[in-house]
């Protein structure tokens, strides 16, 4: 299955493959680690394709295990970021084994759960192909588990041309964008630079230490980079941006701050993978999808895609976003531009996009409603110049409650169980959640 990529590792040999808080790993070392992970996997004596979760951020151990699981036809579930969300995700996919990965080290733990015989896994097992499970925000508020055909996905990187330009890993390996950066970088023999964390400071340090040339980022991150005032990053030549709309004013400020850097818009969804796109000119908010693996159309202002790297389906949700003839309804509002280009305007419906991270209002509402002193609430997104959209909660409080203290307990309750970007930044106290206001907002 993945033998082509391991052969390539052999060829790239002493070139650096990954750099991060653990140090620098060469392609030869990465190959040895992958072989070791394959041996550890074999020692588990698994009689059938199995769901195995990998807990950890980008690093040699995570890469070794992703490739080992793919080569043996298993189902990999990379989990990174907020550990509070891990237990629910692990149960949803009925993971049988956990691999905790840090730097070049790992530990393996069995997990007691009913063996998952979901039909998507069965189908992949029959085809002798591996699976990759990623999560996205579901409409019900609980994360949706999507299964990709990992074998097919990996194959799409086989014809990448060699290039050794250091690239930064801003998105985690639990995100389709992060997986795309990782696989493109490994297939090309480039150096993937992993910052200690995703703060502006850490990223700037990583760019300077390893002379990073390519920075895949989100508009929000780039905005924060400008806000931090540090813009002297002479090694940078290419910045790609995606996952949320790019305000024209921000793009303009970026061009001024980084005059020698080329800016390229990317587009992708967890369901269809990252698409090859181009922009008519660097300042243009429009993009053109020119990807042999993808066809697209705009239906009533919504972008529809059909892609060869489309997900096999969801574990815990219906395939309602797919039409019966295989189109994926992205939920992205777009407008047609000149010469077959499109412009991404935002999301249709209620999903809130905080700096590229998607948030479902219902998930937050259910927590706020459980806070003592709250009668009713409504959560929505509000345009924000720093993070694109910010989470706002309208709350009806019980009479005689200290509102400042209630605000603080609402945020604490949210912070206890949710990722920080989901915690409401603004809490407005109102006398009732009127239908009028709702209509206005949704209209």
């Amino acid at each position: 299955m993945s033998s082509w990529i391991l052969k390539r590792f052999q060829k790239f040999d002493s070139q650096p493959a990954l750099a991060g808080p653990w140090g620098v790993t060469t392609y030869a070392q990465l190959l040895a680690l992958t072989r070791k992970a394959q041996a550890d996997l074999q020692a588990l004596n698994l009689s059938e394709p199995t769901v195995i979760a990998i807990l950890g951020e980008h690093g040699p151990a995570v890469v070794a295990w992703l490739l080992a699981l793919e080569s043996a036809g298993h189902f990999a579930v990379p989990l990174a970021g907020n550990a509070q969300e891990f237990p629910a995700k692990l149960s949803q996919v009925s993971a049988q084994w956990l691999v905790t990965a840090e730097g070049a080290e790992w530990k393996i733990y069995p997990r007691i759960d009913s063996s998952s015989r979901h039909e998507i896994f069965q189908k992949l097992a029959r085809q002798k192909e591996a699976g990759l499970v990623l999560f996205s925000s579901g409409t019900s508020g609980s994360p949706k588990a999507m299964v990709q055909n990992f074998t097919q996905l990996l194959k799409t990187y086989e014809n990448r041309r060699a290039n050794r330009l250091p690239i930064l890993a801003l998105l985690g390996c639990d995100h389709i964008g992060g997986i795309n950066t990782l696989l493109s970088s490994l297939a090309a023999g480039a150096l993937l630079v992993v910052p200690e964390n995703r703060s502006v400071d850490s990223v700037i340090k990583a760019i300077r230490n390893h002379s990073v040339v390519v920075l895949p980022a989100t508009p929000t991150f780039l905005n924060l980079l400008l806000l931090s005032g540090v813009v002297h990053l002479p090694s940078l030549r290419l910045i790609t941006y995606g996952t949320e709309p790019m305000p024209e004013s921000l793009l303009h400020r970026l061009h001024k701050a980084f005059p020698v850097v080329r800016f390229v818009q990317t587009f992708g969804t967890s369901e269809t993978g990252i698409l090859h796109t181009s922009s008519p000119d660097p300042d243009s908010p429009y993009l053109k999808i020119d990807d042999d693996n993808v066809v697209w159309k705009v239906v009533e202002g919504e972008l529809w895609l059909k892609s060869k790297t489309q997900v096999e389906g969801y574990i815990n949700a219906t395939n309602e976003k797919f039409t019966s003839d295989g189109w994926f309804r992205t939920g992205d509002k777009v407008e047609n531009g000149p010469d077959g280009t499109i412009r991404i305007l935002g999301r249709i419906g209620e999903l809130i996009n905080v700096g590229g991270e998607k948030v479902m209002p219902t998930e937050i509402e259910s927590i706020i409603l459980g806070v003592s002193g709250v009668i009713d609430c409504r959560v929505y997104g509000e345009k924000n110049v720093i993070v694109g959209q910010a989470v706002v909660a309208e709350v009806v409080a019980q009479p005689d409650v200290d509102l400042d203290a209630l605000k603080s307990s609402i945020r604490s309750a949210c912070r206890a169980v949710l990722s920080a970007y989901k915690v409401p930044t603004r809490i407005n106290f109102v006398s009732d959640i009127s239908c009028e206001r709702l209509k206005k907002r949704r209209g």
Binding site: S199, V200, D201, T220, N223, L224, L226, L227, S228, G229, V230, S249, R253, V354, G355, N384, V385, I386, V387, A390, D404, S408, R411, S412, R415, A420, Y421, V423, T425, R426
Partner: protein
């Protein structure tokens, strides 16, 4: 009208109550020179957005004025008003007294 001292007190007081919420005890003893965002900063982007939203509400509650502290104008300044406590206090005086 808001004075420079009132503005500074408002920021420091708000940071004090956010310190516990955000788990940043250093912000309990914030002063003029405390870094907010950028190099050696105490707040991440969500923390900064939260502070700004709370301050906008405080300004309305205490001075009856509706202001927007984070907008394109603030973002495109050469020196960001969100870098240090003192700079934010200066900026609030400027914005509130213009309304």
């Amino acid at each position: 009208m808001i004075t420079r001292k009132q503005s500074l007190d408002l920021v420091i007081q708000r940071l004090g109550s956010l310190a516990l919420e955000l788990g940043k005890p250093a912000l309990l003893n914030a002063d003029e020179s405390t870094h907010l965002f950028g190099d050696a900063a105490h707040l991440d982007s969500i923390g900064l957005v939260t502070l700004i939203a709370d301050l906008e509400q405080d300004i309305f509650n205490q001075f009856g004025k509706r202001v927007t502290l984070a907008d394109e104008k603030a973002m495109s300044r050469l020196t960001s008003p969100f870098r240090r406590v003192g700079l934010l206090a200066d900026y609030m005086v400027e914005v509130v007294n213009k309304v």
